[in-house]
């Protein structure tokens, strides 16, 4: 059973620095999609990666795209080499990205994010305009379909100012 919201709770409790992106962000903005993973963008520095490792440690995280399911290990040797982490845990899939196509590195992503309130704390989600830009930059069919929904949501927000990305 997936528990993606519990994964988020872990990350927030451990004070990981991150922004929710991808399909999970689209869903949080109101798109009617179901996604099996939570995508986050986060700084790939030693502190944050150690924090990520500690947050997931008891959930048996492994690199799901490796054939032999290598367990997640953060070492002084590999910190500088990591760019993205595609992980499976006991509670579901989590993809950690150091940059977002169409937006840039974490700081640019954070600048274009909005804060949302969850039951267990606050976290940041990529803003609607930035999410549309990122999905268009990827350009895959499923992303284009999500963009159609996001643009409709964006239009509704134009009618109700103050509900979208802070510019």
């Amino acid at each position: 059973m997936a528990a993606l919201e519990s994964l988020l709770e872990r990350l927030i409790q451990r004070q990981l620095e991150f922004v929710i992106v991808g399909g999970f962000a689209a869903m949080a903005h109101g798109a009617s999609i179901v996604t099996q993973d939570v995508d986050i963008c986060c700084p790939f520095n030693a502190t944050n990666l150690k924090c990520l490792h500690d947050a997931l440690a008891d959930l048996h995280p492994y690199h799901r795209l490796t054939p032999n399911r290598l367990p997640l290990q953060i070492t002084p040797e590999n910190i500088g080499r990591l760019e993205n982490l595609y992980l499976m845990t006991d509670w579901g899939q989590i993809d950690c990205l150091s940059r977002i196509k169409g937006i840039g590195e974490f700081e640019a992503v954070r600048t274009r994010s909005v804060e949302i309130q969850l039951a267990f704390g606050r976290c940041r989600v990529l803003g609607l305009d930035a999410l549309i830009a990122a999905k268009l930059a990827i350009g895959e069919t499923r992303d284009k379909l999500t963009v159609i929904q996001l643009q409709a949501i964006r239009e509704r927000q134009d009618l109700k100012p103050g509900t979208g990305e802070q510019r």
């Binding site: 059973m1 997936a2 528990a3 993606l4 919201e5 988020l8 999970f24 869903m27 949080a28 903005h29 109101g30 798109a31 009617s32 179901v34 996604t35 099996q36 949302i116 309130q117 969850l118 039951a119 989600v125 379909l145 159609i148 929904q149 643009q151 409709a152 949501i153 964006r154 239009e155 509704r156």
Partner: protein, 65 residues
């Protein structure tokens, strides 16, 4: 003889574009009435139902307990 005047077609809004693409806009409408946290909980229920259905289907096809 009075000529019939065709009404101006309504502009194609993003909302209408999504509707024309086949999305059920009542679902999105309902989502927009929720908080992000409520959307996440709804999504979680939908995802877990989909995963259970997939597992049940796999058991039916491939067997197993």
């Amino acid at each position: 003889m009075q000529k019939n005047i065709e009404p101006e077609p309504e502009p194609m809004t993003a909302w209408k574009t999504a509707e024309a693409a086949g999305f059920d806009m009542s679902v999105i409408e309902a989502n927009l009435r929720l908080t992000p946290w409520e959307r996440i909980l709804n999504h979680s229920r939908a995802l877990n139902l989909a995963l259970q259905l997939r597992e049940a289907m796999q058991k039916q096809i491939y067997g197993g307990s």
